[in-house]
Symmetry: C2
Subunit: 398 residues, 2 copies
Amino acid sequence: MSKFTISAIENGLENVEGFYCGATNVGMRPDETQGDVAFIRSDTMCDISAVFTNNTFQAAPIKHFQQYPQNFKTNFVLINAKNANAMTGEKGIEDIQTIMSALFSKQAVNNPIMSSTGVIGYRLPVDKIISAFDTLDFNEKNSNAAACAIMTTDSFKKELAYKIKLEDGNTFHIAAICKGAGMINPAMATMLCFIITDADVPKSDMDALLLSSTEKSFNRISVDGDTSTNDTVMLLSNKKSGNYNKEAFETVLNKIMFELAMMILRDGEGANKLVAFEVKGAKSLDDAKTASMALSNSLLVKTALFGEDPNWGRIASTIGASGIACDEKKLTIHYDDLLIYSDAYRELDATREKQAYTIMKKDMFTITCDLGLGEESYISYGCDLSYDYVKINAEYRT
Amino acid sequence: MSKFTISAIENGLENVEGFYCGATNVGMRPDETQGDVAFIRSDTMCDISAVFTNNTFQAAPIKHFQQYPQNFKTNFVLINAKNANAMTGEKGIEDIQTIMSALFSKQAVNNPIMSSTGVIGYRLPVDKIISAFDTLDFNEKNSNAAACAIMTTDSFKKELAYKIKLEDGNTFHIAAICKGAGMINPAMATMLCFIITDADVPKSDMDALLLSSTEKSFNRISVDGDTSTNDTVMLLSNKKSGNYNKEAFETVLNKIMFELAMMILRDGEGANKLVAFEVKGAKSLDDAKTASMALSNSLLVKTALFGEDPNWGRIASTIGASGIACDEKKLTIHYDDLLIYSDAYRELDATREKQAYTIMKKDMFTITCDLGLGEESYISYGCDLSYDYVKINAEYRT
């Protein structure tokens, strides 16, 4: 067990040695005080690991990324909001190539990456984006501008940074910006997350840890159960600190990604509360995961959370409908520590109903379903469904 | 090809020879002008076929039904609203037995069936329900009262009847009552449907046709994608007309069940429009069904329908996320007859956007997605998601 200390630091991406970032508004976003094109640049080449959406209709930037050879290095990421460059066919990829050629004339870039978020089905405004290269300062460090520029329906920017001090006194940094509120809204599409580090992390660790950390964070949250064409999580490392400790790196990567995932959930469109759905005592991990995700995705559970109605029947029914092995005699349901259903205790009396109501008023609580059939468990995280969710999603785009 | 004529007739269940029906209010429903306990009785024994929910936590009445031997006959169905008798354990079944014993002292019943809809997790008010047997007139024919008594969040009663005249001049009848609005709301639970006929239909035809007809009707609609603990479709035949023609029977059974399913969808909680999601050109029937059901269940598609936003990106993204074989170059999307997406036509111009908007204003239209990969197709039916859905489901029970 290695010793290390972790401290949260301000100003996000600015803390990581050799990285630069900023943003500008090229007229895609009507509010000119907020950018719509952002960049992240490293002054040396970076290893890169990425996790993309499972959607068959991957957006053009994801297809563009996949044209690079395995284990390629890069020094530049360009990100735009307001347009997903998805379902745009070959033209969508050609547009990225045009933009990247123009960028190269301003700034030496190697294997540049593009990432987009916004509405599906429209060509990128190539000329407007190219015009950004005249106004952007590629030697700037402005994490706030970059974090704000990638927002779509987000109501707050999502930016975190940590400094890790190892036992020998050496340090490295991990920082990230992220966007997402609809988790995962194919129309505006997407959740995007960019993590940068100056740790001297081997590429093989980057790949493995990014995958496992994604499974424990972004893959466990649900706002509306949809999977976008553009979902992207990227990790870039330029090794500049020369320092690394796997345990420390993994701990902080997990921490930063989990915290960002919770920020997305807190910012779930119209959401007011965050609920952890723990399913334990399952026969298999698949069963636990299926039931947990069914709960965090259920419209009826979500609306009951919004109504603060301790209607455990919706919880039970959702588990029963999920197709997993379960038995109403062995099932127990708790809201935080309050027993709300068991075989011996099937009707909610007034006292417990009142206690349940108090728990549901909180802006975060846990619903634990013990299936009583085995040893496997899974937690996913969801939020309530409010009038505002409908409003945001009915009115988006128009 | 046999010849027959079909005519719609008034007064639902009252048209079927040898059947009686009615309802009373025993105090479970606050509004005393509407019943909460209904019955359907035949003066001779009936064959019965039934299709129940796939939810593992089947409600007590479904478990009670399954205690009878295969191919049993019955002459009585008792139905209550406001309480689902679900997740009530052994006691739930004992309560049904107590009620049925009391019923037997008033009225000779053989293998009586009970069916319930309402909130999950509460014992039935046994004494109140037994008190109904003093006020009900078991020789009454009051289809309206029965259809109204089984409603929960339904905003209108669902009742249909058809008279079938065969080529030789002989006739038989099929009639039904049905309830459901949340399709399928585990809290209030349920959709229930009771179909009665005096046709001389063989039991084997009843079983086969009820299954195939359910697949083409109730299994193709989605309001919120949840499956209740109580979903029940029942077909009772007392053979009293002595007449039967399989083709005519199947045609009318399909018709009556499809029409009832569309009524449920029209009455979808807070829903304003009905949309048919046709997926064709699929490699397999499974693919077509998966994509079609993904569309009718998608929150983002539903909110776009409510917002009347011709945002085909949400349609495409939902298909891409459904995991089926698809290719954005071969896909085409139509709203009614209007081409809205193809490889050659990816951006929605102002003219077509206006045309699409006009189609979306209608209270019924079809979205057709041709995958261009094969010959299989599937249609499911959905509705929009409005503020009122959230309101109804957040406030239900409290």
